[in-house]
Symmetry: C2
Subunit: 419 residues, 2 copies
């Protein structure tokens, strides 16, 4: 894409009320627009990142047998009363409103009730199980404290998968698969090295749930990490008994602030019971379905990457989710340089390499370099009189200080080999 066609521009300042580093960076670089605290619109660059994260998650969910659907945002009172979660005394972050034709509705803050209601129509026999439907969806939560940018949204885009299994053994097998899929997701989006499977409070049906906690000072949680085992414990269950049970030694643990970027949870029959979500086994005996939930917030993930993988110049996107793979800058307004840059742009695009082409005129090299660093695309390519004299294009990685000049054919080989 030609940057002259991209309507966003980098900004010197984020809105004065923006307190969080992630949103400040993403706003300044033109990825998001702040509608209000906890509510952001995705500008073209931001949407590209979001869509890449979505594709990675979808792929991992499909690999473990997930099947995609999309539930409505508007929810009916009757459905949520079955689990006693309609009341504002029980759930403190509902957004509710009223129909003109009469009656209250709520906006999805989670999906267990919607899924249970839908699946109830289709689950009758053991032959119908197990199933693993999931949703990408906008979720609404009436948060009083939405000061962490993309890390805590009043409106946010998430993926939630629910597992419906015949028994605990079948559930446990899938739960472990999902844990591995989540690990793969965090690796792929570039924060696997700072994300820990964290033991957190469970519920009636399981002692623990598992959170995926990513280390950042901007996080709202405190966790205790055992580096050698690669796991952590959330402060909420950080007791001597739990440590003993998990075989962890207090002295080996490191306390860190972290943000919960994902979680998986064994629900047992908590939801299947109120909805009478049951199946008949081979002998005709009815059993309640065993459920699990597997959530991940895509905007929060994007915010966490911006928060943790950035330096004083801007964001440093991992290749997997960068809005573009390469950022081509043309320096100087001479016809020869422009025409060479056009040629490079055409060639790379034709070879399937994603290019954001900074073809804007009347801007200094310094301005273009600063914008490129702020936006944070992994490979910076510069075409200038100097690079042409040196026989090619200057290639510099965002994470490195120095670049090198390579001929176009070599550049193409290098970038297509890694695809």
């Amino acid at each position: 894409m030609r940057q002259s066609h991209l309507f966003t521009k980098t900004r010197k300042e984020a809105p004065a009320d923006e307190m969080s580093k992630n949103a400040e960076l993403l706003i300044k670089a033109g990825f998001i627009h702040k509608e209000m605290a906890g509510v952001y619109s995705f500008l073209p660059l931001g949407l590209r990142v979001l869509q890449k994260i979505e594709a990675i998650i979808r792929d991992e969910m499909n690999k473990i047998g997930g099947i995609e659907m999309r539930t409505s945002a508007i929810q009916t009172k009757e459905v949520w009363e079955k689990t006693d979660r309609w009341s504002d005394d029980v759930v403190d972050n509902w957004f509710k409103t009223t129909l003109k034709s009469g009656g209250e509705i709520g906006l999805s803050f989670t999906n267990e009730e919607a899924y249970s209601t839908i699946l109830k129509q289709y689950i009758h026999s053991y032959k119908d199980l197990p199933i693993y439907p999931y949703d990408f969806k906008t979720i609404f939560r009436n948060e009083t404290r939405a000061k962490s940018g993309m890390l805590r949204g009043r409106e946010f885009y998430w993926k939630a998968l629910y597992s419906f299994s015949k028994d605990i053994a079948e559930h446990d097998v899938f739960y472990e698969k999902a844990k591995q899929a989540y690990k793969a997701i965090f690796q792929k989006v570039g924060i696997g090295h700072i994300t820990y499977v964290t033991f957190a409070s469970g519920g009636t049906f399981s002692q623990f749930s598992h959170e995926f906690q990513t280390i950042t000072a901007a996080g709202e949680d405190t966790i205790y990490i055992d580096e050698s085992k690669g796991i952590a414990v959330n402060k909420e269950v950080y007791t001597d008994e739990v440590l003993a049970e998990l075989g962890l030694v207090k002295e080996h643990l490191i306390e860190q602030r972290a943000v919960e970027t994902g979680n998986i949870f064994s629900l047992g029959t908590k939801f299947s019971e109120p909805f009478d979500l049951a199946y008949a086994d081979e002998t005709g005996v009815r059993h309640l379905v065993i459920m699990g939930s597997y959530g991940i917030g895509l905007g929060r993930l994007m915010g966490t990457v911006a928060e943790t993988l950035s330096d004083d110049k801007g964001i440093v996107w991992p290749e997997s989710i960068a809005p573009f793979r390469t950022h081509l800058l043309v320096l100087g307004d001479s016809a020869a340089v422009k025409s060479e840059a056009d040629r490079v742009y055409a060639e790379l695009t034709e070879k399937g390499v994603e290019v954001l082409f900074d073809d804007r005129v009347g801007m200094s090299a310094g301005e273009k370099f600063a914008d490129a660093d702020l936006i944070g695309i992994p490979y910076r390519l510069v075409v200038s009189e100097r690079s042409i004299e040196a026989g090619g294009i200057e290639l510099k990685k965002r994470i490195e200080e120095k670049g090198m000049v390579v001929p176009l054919s070599e550049l193409v080989d290098m970038l297509t080999a890694r695809n």
Copy 2:
């Protein structure tokens, strides 16, 4: 996909309160779930159709220079007060609610104000124009009368593009391009032959807007069609003066009921004025931006296809948006037949042909045929003892009465040649 893994099943009946043919068909065939009147969830088959429609629209929008972004559903009062559209006396279908931290918010019922606010930050000079950003997004409208299934939603998924042009001449060129892109969309989703560019009421800045009206008895509009010219006039502007102006003769027009499946609208400076959305030209003189809006509801489009392209057995999906291209049925439970069907499934899948594989056991041929007709996938493939004896797979189009037996290699050639 193996149908044994698809959790939805066909149903004999839609919910008793469902009055519309499109929703009844889509519910019975397992494409959607009714949450309440005007609110539907997309089940896996329905989401596949929706995603295909989305891909077709995205492609057409990108071809005319569109650039995708995604605005938030939650909207602030301050923004909408600028155009006097916050008041419930002006806009009668807002869903509004309140923040726990205080203050009212609204849920997007359209996008002009959100776009104007965002673009205001980036449009300063003539160099910044024209731009054509667009959104796929869930929209909320507090409809009192939501009895037409997917044709009128309280919550629905739409695409809206807004054009920002320097002057009317530039606007007009794009407006015409958008009209052509819309025509291409309706052709591609399979209802081009019953969809008419329809002159409808304009506004302060243009005498007419253009609706895309698809003929169906379920529609809420009345239009007058000139078949020879391929255009129509909405009842709301059906006067002798308008007909004369458009060169139409009353006696040649046919009255039809129709549903508005898309619309394009010249907005002039209606929104750029209240937001002071202006640019400086080459000489530094400021001008207001000329805007246009281009909307299309994806759920409504899906509903319209189900409503209009169906017969007494079920839905008849066009190939372009069918959930799968082929529906492979295995009949009988003999090991030889099953193994042949598995081979056909593997071979087609491997060759990139989309297959829904009805591998369910213990069902009669009649039940499988009825399900296949209801779901409405374009090509039905049957593997049975009879088809094997006849040397291959029985291929029958959904729209044809009789099938023919073809060998697997020929089937593969036929289906991949059309890809």
